[in-house]
Structure formats: C-alpha cells, structure tokens
Amino acid sequence: MTPAIQVRQVHKRYGSVHALAGVDLEVRQGEFFALLGPNGAGKTTLINTLAGLARADGGSLRVMGHDVVSGYREARRNLGVVPQELVFDPFFSVRETLRIQSGYFGLRRNDAWIDEVMERLDLTSRAGFNMRALSGGMKRRVLVAQALVHKPPVIVLDEPTAGVDVELRQALWNFVKQLNADGHTIVLTTHYLDEAEMLCQRVAMLKQGRVVALDTTQNLVRSVSGRQVRLRLAPDALPPLLEPIRLGSENGTHLLSLADYPELERVMAALREAGSRVLEMEIVQPDLEDVFVQIMRRE
C-alpha cells in the first residue's frame, strides 16, 4: 500500500542553520504517528516542506504517493494541516472562513460536510460569529475545521494542544481519535509526551534536523533500560547495602533503580536482613518521557 507520507533524504537550510539534515521517514496509511523533538528540532520545518509552505533544498516528499512539488495539487488535496500558530482572517465569520477554505480546494457545494464538521467541533452556535469575536480555544477549533473541509486522508496537527484548556484538549483528542478510527492517517507534534504515548502507535524523534529514533511507542518504552521502585520504610533509613542503587530520597521515600525485575528480590532480601519494614512500595514504569530524555541526552 502507498505510504501516507514518504520523506526521503530531505535537507533544508536557513542560512547557516541546517534545519533538516537528511530526514528519512515513512508513515503508513491509517497510522496515528507522533513527531517529537525539542524546540528547534525541525518538526515544523518538516511539516512546512510537506505542506508546500517551504521548499526542501534536497530530497523528496510524497503525500499518498504524490510528490509535493511536481504533483502539488494532488499532494495538497490529500493533506490537511492544522498550523501551530493561532491564525485567522479577521474579515470573515466562521462559516465564511470554512466556505472559502473549501472553495480553495474546488469544493463549492460543501455545506453538508461543513455543518457536520462544525457540529462535531462544537462550533455550530458560533457559525455566524466573526473570527475576531472567538476565544482562543474556539479559534483553535476553527483551525482544525479548516484543515478538514476537504476531507483529507492525511491530517497533520502541529502542536494542537499548546495553550489549550483541559476540556478542549479532551474534546480534540476524542475527535481526532474518531478521525483515525474512520481511516484518516494522523501525524501529531506535541510537547506533551503523555498524549503522544496514549494516542500514537509509532513515534519519530527529531533532534537538530535528524531522526534519532523511529519505532513503535511500545518498543521505545521497552528500550529504556531499567525500572524504578519507590519505597517508604520503617525505620526510615535505607540499608547501606542499597546505597549504590539509590536515585534519590524525598519526604521519607526512597527511589531506587532496578536493572530488571529479579533485582527487586535482592532489594527485598537486603531490607529483610537490615530489619526494615516496607510501609509503601510502588514500581515506577518508564514512559515515553524517559525515553525522550534518554535519547536526547545520548545523541
């Protein structure tokens, strides 16, 4: 099957900054894919080259098999982008904005779908409002609606939840999950790694314009060596035998690192021997954030 997105050896320079330094990436159709990385890693640049907002200096990008330069019309018809910045045209109402956006894609009688998108994003009551009169959250919803007016099979959301309240975040994710269930490919950038871990099947991590990790979320989390155990003891003091694996202590709880689960047995034995009683114990699983921190440090 044609990949939803195919990025091959893409380079992009801004003056002396090598914003994309040979990026290779493939997103399969129907995937929920996360593009992660610190600020300035090249996530938005990659999205911009994919969407035609910037031109790559080298390499090729395809959306549903269509080259973004030579087949730009088809590539753009297949792609919906929710930009990071909260942009809007102050001259128009919500409905006008969506009708105009739809017309740009050559869809002139698209009111049924526009109504449905507005309904699903809870915008119906604001349809006649001028864009200026909307709150930030509402403007964000309109941006999402604008990216969907032409029913693109591939949807890219560039930090859609930055500065968004909890309620909208939940609503937005439910909606995007539904879109994914309906068959849309979703690519997401976010700084909230718990969101990426919860939603995305595969993750690419970018650093300084390069892909430094690309795997399923599960494999990445598994790849982090070691788990941790948090203990509260009576008496409070940690037996000296366990000092080498202590990561820290705070308010009477000690955090110890475990290379693997069998090591927990050795910890328990050491505690028994020292006559310490376990008041509370919690195994801390590594999450995507740990993976992220580890990879970014390593690279």
Partner: protein, 251 residues
C-alpha cells in the same frame, strides 16, 4: 478554476466589507482635489481648446484614484495576510500561482474600477463630460488598474513590514501618479520635465484614458496603449515568476 473563483470572491468580499474605507474614502479624497484645484485653476488654465480645466481634471482624478486603489487592494491584502499569518490558508490549498495572480489582479481591477466609476458618476452631476471613444477609456482603465494590481502584488510579497509597504507607496507610487499629468497637461511644463514625464509609464495611462474622453491627448493614443499594454505584460510575467519561485511566500 473553482479555487481561483473562491480566491477572487474572497478578495472582493474583503474590500467590500470595509467599503467605507476602501471605496467611499478615496471617492471623497478625489472630490476634495477636484473642488480645490478646479476652484483655483478653472479661470487660469485651459489645457485643450474647448475643454475646461475642471472637465480636463475629472478623468485624470478618476484614473489616479483607480491606480492608487488597485495598488492598495492587492498590496494591503497580501501584507495583512503575511503579517497576521493567515496567508497559510491560501498557500496550503492546491492553488496555482497563475490562479493567485489572476484573483488578486482582478480584485484590484474591480476595486479600482468601482472607485473610478464612482468619481465620474458623482462629478457627472456638476459638469458634462464627453466620452468620445469609450473603448479607449475601458482599455486604459483595465490595463492601468491591472498594472497597479500587479505592482501591489509585488510590493505585498516583497514588504515584510507595513512601513516598507508605505515606503513603496509614498516614494514610488505617489510621485509617479502625481507627476503623470493628472493636474496639468505636460505641454505646460518646461522641456526638462516634459522629457522626464515621457519615461513615466503612469503618464501614458492618464493621457490615453483622457484621450478616450476628449479625443485629444499629449501623445498619440496608440503609442500610449502600446506602452501601457507592454508594461502590463512585463509586470504580469514578473509577478507570475515571483509567485512561481515562492519568493518570500514559501520560504
């Protein structure tokens, strides 16, 4: 072509929604010029035999308003979109650069024509203006507005800040329009300034446009049409090329 039609519609709706500022204000400005200049100069100047100064002035003012407003339409729309960032809504869809050019240029022509027709319609109540060759009037109105619409696109693409656009307007467009013979026949100028006027393309737009009304002009209308038509073609190609390269729009 649906994308083009939508972009054109959006550009028309944009200026129409603020027509107080985009149509009525320039109309008032033109009328004030007319009032003052015709009051001061009517007795002293007769540019062509049998043509009063006020009658002479009206087509010039109409054309000047058309040119300035055509330029203002495309340039201000683009710079606003660039600065607020909503230009992405036009750059993300599958619009070709020819569609973008045509939509912006045509919307500029419509705004220019609206103001120009307004100037002539309002002044028709005060003075009878002959229209000897309406096709010439139409041709120069169209080419003139389209040229300034294209210039507006170029300026809107080039400028990154409002003051850069204002500089373009104040240091290029304004001098060229004011020194193009709107208020005088260039035959009344000293030889040096006459010669200089002949390298100003705006002069040919105004002179040719005026010829359509009076059947009299400073230079032969065919020459004016050739120069104006040539300028239009050259600027169209330049604008299309700029849009095609993505200069300052698609980083």
């Amino acid at each position: 072509m649906d994308g083009f039609r939508t972009l054109l519609f959006k550009e028309l709706l944009r200026f129409w929604k603020v027509s107080f500022q985009t149509v009525l204000a320039p109309l008032l400005t033109a009328l004030l010029y007319l009032l003052i200049f015709s009051h001061v100069l009517e007795e002293h100047v007769q540019p062509y035999p049998g043509v009063s100064y006020t009658a002479f002035l009206i087509p010039g003012l109409a054309m000047m308003s058309m040119l300035q407003n055509s330029f203002a339409n495309s340039s201000s729309s683009l710079i606003q979109s660039k600065i607020t960032g909503n230009i992405v809504f036009m750059l993300l869809p599958p619009l070709s650069h020819a569609e973008i050019f045509l939509a912006y240029a045509l919307a500029s022509v419509v705004r220019g024509a609206t103001v120009g027709i307004g100037v002539i319609a309002v002044t028709a109540g005060f003075i009878e203006l002959p229209v000897k060759f309406p096709l010439w009037v139409l041709a120069f109105a169209l080419f003139g507005s389209a040229i300034l619409g294209s210039l507006g696109i170029i300026a809107g693409i080039w400028a990154e800040k409002f003051d850069q656009l204002a500089a373009f307007q104040n240091f290029i467009i304004m001098p060229l329009t004011f020194l193009s013979g709107v208020f005088y026949s260039i035959h009344s100028l000293p030889p040096f300034w006459q010669a200089l006027s002949h390298v100003n393309p705006f002069f040919y737009m105004i002179d040719g446009f005026r010829y359509g009304f009076f059947g009299a002009s400073d230079v032969a209308p065919h020459l004016s049409l050739a120069i104006v038509g040539g300028s239009f073609l050259a600027l169209s190609f330049l604008t299309l090329w700029l849009l095609g390269t993505g200069y300052k729009l698609r980083q």
